[in-house]
């Protein structure tokens, strides 16, 4: 019995370590390739976005895979985090000259504001189920984006000024500075995001999500997903744990947002970056990687971001191939015959591990 206990514990730990290991190995590989000058500038530009997508996919998996609720507003939380972090960085650019410290604080602020948005949206929304929840979160994402587009925020010696009309309406003193210029967004955010920071944030995200899942709290969250009525009958506070999972997921999206904001010098809320297309794309990463499978989310986010770029030389055909790959992956992971094939010839079998009966998270 004792043997079984340690074995089960180490299996879970081993699984987590493999996940961390994959991320670290990917980082080392990219660094080596960069030193060797084998990474194109196009790919270099993709490294930070890759980290952002991985964080988004992993955090959304907490809502979709672990909590079992369909959220289509993940880009909205990212947007909240991005703007909160960018405003903070812009305001403290002179006050906190150390870039690392400023960025760290910006991350915390972005995460906190996204979490707050998560709570505010979550309280009414988590009473809804299934499609309704998806619709409301979708609307939330669009609302956030549009609200930010009409906000003008400025600062001078008298403090902050806000307006919904235009920059002149702020009535700033001559030396005052406009921080958010409505649809033009925020310009001049310090470019603090680096690939290394991105990787570290992925590891932090994984640390939080994996530790949360493999705990009393995680079990409570999954029990709600599997059977809400039974969860209540054994004394699980359904509202509390739903809100907790949703909020953690939102705040991690906020972290990704801060990373995004500090990767570009201009931050504007456009359909392209914070629209529902983005939310759907993150959801595609989660679904393709396997709902509830954290490691799968990472791999899917990386592959599906790189794929269209790699196929750029094929011009018009690239989205076609992208679609074919999506379909092929779905068939490969779900058709019974393919699953049988995988079990027989899969990596697990080849590596000599005895039972591949349960591959969770």
């Amino acid at each position: 019995m004792r043997q079984m206990k340690t074995k089960a514990l180490s299996k879970q730990t081993r699984n987590n370590l493999v996940t961390y290991g994959i991320v670290i190995a990917a980082y080392i590989a990219v660094e080596i390739l960069m030193r060797a000058g084998m990474v194109s500038s196009l790919l270099k530009g993709l490294l930070v976005p890759l980290c952002i997508y991985v964080i988004l996919a992993v955090s959304l998996n907490l809502t979709v895979g672990i909590l079992g609720e369909l959220s289509l507003g993940h880009a909205g939380f990212m947007c909240v985090g991005a703007f909160a972090g960018a405003i903070f960085s812009k305001c403290t650019m002179n006050a906190i000259p150390v870039a690392g410290l400023r960025f760290f604080l910006a991350l915390l602020i972005g995460a906190a504001f996204a979490a707050l948005a998560g709570i505010l949206v979550g309280i009414p929304v988590l009473r809804l189920k299934g499609d309704y929840l998806a619709i409301v979160t979708l609307a939330f994402g669009e609302i956030i984006k549009n609200v930010i587009n009409i906000i003008f925020l400025g600062r001078d010696s008298r403090g902050f000024h806000i307006s919904l009309k235009d920059a002149f309406d702020l009535g700033l003193e001559p030396e005052g500075e406009v921080i958010i210029k409505g649809p033009q967004g925020i310009t001049g955010t310090p470019n603090d995001s680096t690939f290394l920071i991105g990787i570290l944030l992925i590891l932090v995200t994984l640390f939080i999500v994996l530790n949360l899942i493999h705990s009393r709290t995680g079990r409570a969250i999954m029990s709600i997903r599997d059977n809400r009525i039974a969860a209540e009958s054994v004394g699980i506070n359904v509202t509390k744990y739903k809100l907790l999972a949703f909020t953690v997921s939102a705040s991690l999206a906020g972290v990704a947002g801060v990373l995004y904001a500090h990767n570009l010098s201009t931050l504007a809320a456009q359909p392209k970056n914070f629209g529902y297309n983005m939310s759907i794309m993150i959801l595609v990463f989660v679904v393709l990687g396997g709902i509830g499978n954290i490691r799968g989310s990472i791999i899917a986010a990386v592959v599906l971001t790189l794929l269209p770029e790699m196929l750029r030389s094929l011009n018009d055909y690239r989205m076609l191939i992208y679609a074919v790959v999506l379909i092929a992956v779905m068939i490969f992971s779900w058709s019974p015959k393919c699953r049988e094939f995988r079990e027989r010839y899969g990596l697990k079998r080849l590596l000599g591990s005895k039972k591949g009966a349960k591959e969770e998270v």
Binding site: M4, A8, R216, S233, I236
Partner: protein, 252 residues
Amino acid sequence: MALLEVESLGISFGGLRAVDNFNISVEKEQLYGLIGPNGAGKTTIFNLLTGVYKPDKGTIRLDGENMVGKNTIDINKAGIARTFQNIRLFKDMSVIDNVKVGLHNHHSYSTLSAIFRFPSYYKVEKEIRERAMELLKVFGLEEECDYLASNLPYGKQRKLEIARALATGPKLLLLDEPAAGMNPNETGELMDTIRFVRDNFHMTILLIEHDMKLVSGICEGLTVLNFGQVLAEGTTGEVLNNPEVIKAYLGE
């Protein structure tokens, strides 16, 4: 004083009086049965007892404590645990995790110590695991502890549901048709398990059942329900020989 005392309990759904003037009194460590034809309101009574429905009339007292108006979660914390007619396991979780969820409120640590793996996490997780294994052993499920719950055979799923309910440390255990869908062998085994739970956990058990072999075999007291009202109550022998019960439920 009886452990569970229910007086003049009633609920209506629209124009239908699903349960009316229902009384029951279950003594500590008693094995009590609730029987009746389909649609008599048996499961509705379980739902009233566990706070899923709010009664529009009557009182429910557990160990003298009022249960009416409390929600399902607080009622579970106060000491009523149940199983379901159609099994409701956490099917994508492992067998042992199902029981661990049941232990949720008894062995706790904060979410923060879960994320940062403070020493309390390891200490309490160890307690939880040991306690869960103990419970699984009682039900002969320790071999299957790492299986997914949905991969268990039917009879074992029923047992796991009872184990999960017991994990919440209840004073009163409600079993909703525990033998439904079981063959005579499995039913026999289940009867032993229920008796074992009563004797070893000093548990008070109220069960709904259609299988007369199980009812007459283990229940000490019975209440018969028909059209939401009590038709007869008393010791099992008395009730099963009551001509009205035979007419309404058992058939002549």
